[in-house]
Symmetry: C2
Subunit: 174 residues, 2 copies
DNA sequence: TCTAGAATTGAACATTCGTTCAAGTTAGTG
DNA sequence: CACTAACTTGAACGAATGTTCAATTCTAGA
């Protein structure tokens, strides 16, 4: 069954919001900016979402779902560690604005209780993936922190992460 | 010599901006919000700063300076690794809002070229500190990424980092 | 086919936004 | 002391904000 009218509009607004966060950051997410990007009247955002925070929450939920989906796919790859490393490196090179947007939402969730569940999706998804490689909980936490820090620092420093060094570092930590 | 009038006002506005970012996030930084928090007329912000971005840049520069100062002090401690670990853990517990604000500015710099130098201050400061512990550049990068990721994930998950595990992890990586 | 409820949309609201301008005050220099 | 440049401040501007409301269109189910 195809999604109803409302559902389709909601998704269009969420995607438009993500596009705006990529381009201008969270501060750029306003009713008019989002609806203009989606080619919809300004009142559409207020009808479908309780607030801007609600819209941001849906955007984070969507982006988080995408990321977790990718993590699951990586988990079924023949060489998961290598797959994760190359995925992260390629993600950085080709989707830098999207990555910035996701981290912005990710961090925004730290001060917005209603968004925490979605933010923890990535966290637990990554934890679950790494947990299949070792039983050492401490090592899992270290690897997960390392990965998030690597991406964050790559975004700030502008230097793309080296997939080989990344893979070697993960193997060392396991 | 004491700072001039203008300099003192500028600093008051920068501190007010940081306080607002702690409370509401970067989106809350407007001329009127900042000046109200500083007890100054609304036009004061426009006079002393070219734009909101300029004000945010000064705020990041200030916070970055503070952090680097702390890193230098840690470098001279008898047991630097332990000092860094306890400092990070305590910073998280006692200064969570400040930490969120700093990371928000940190990430904001990723899409704002003029802010990149300030953002890289923390990055290079941390790198310099860790570099005194090992000559292995790869290990330095791994430790730095691990630390940033640990703080970020702690902010999102809400779980305070354990200083002992943190110290043990750093020692393992060296 | 008819209809009730969901969805859409344009007009309009009070606020807040960044910015400009001119008048005023202050502090340092000759 | 006088003077100049830096600083301060209140008023006001057009533009953009979130939100409400009523009128309209659409669509799924009886």
């Amino acid at each position: 069954m195809s999604p109803g009218r409302g559902e389709r509009t909601r998704r269009a607004l969420v995607l438009a919001a993500l596009a705006i966060i990529e381009r201008e950051g969270i501060c750029g997410v306003t009713h008019r900016n989002v609806t203009r990007a989606a080619g919809l009247p300004a009142t559409s955002a207020a009808y479908h979402f309780d607030s801007i925070n609600d819209l941001l929450e849906q955007a984070l939920m969507w982006a988080d779902g995408q990321a977790v989906e990718a993590l699951v796919a990586i988990g079924t790859a023949p060489n998961p560690v290598a797959a994760l490393s190359t995925w992260l490196a390629r993600d950085f090179r080709q989707e830098r604005p999207r990555l910035i947007a996701e981290y912005e939402l990710y961090l925004y969730a730290a001060r917005t209780p209603s968004m925490l569940p979605s933010a923890n999706g990535w966290l637990t998804g990554l934890d679950a993936l790494v947990s299949t490689w070792t039983a050492d909980r401490r090592a899992v936490r270290t690897v997960c922190a390392y990965i998030d820090g690597l991406l964050l620092q790559a975004l700030v420093s502008g230097e793309a992460p080296d997939p080989e060094e990344l893979e070697a570092a993960i193997r060392d930590l396991l």
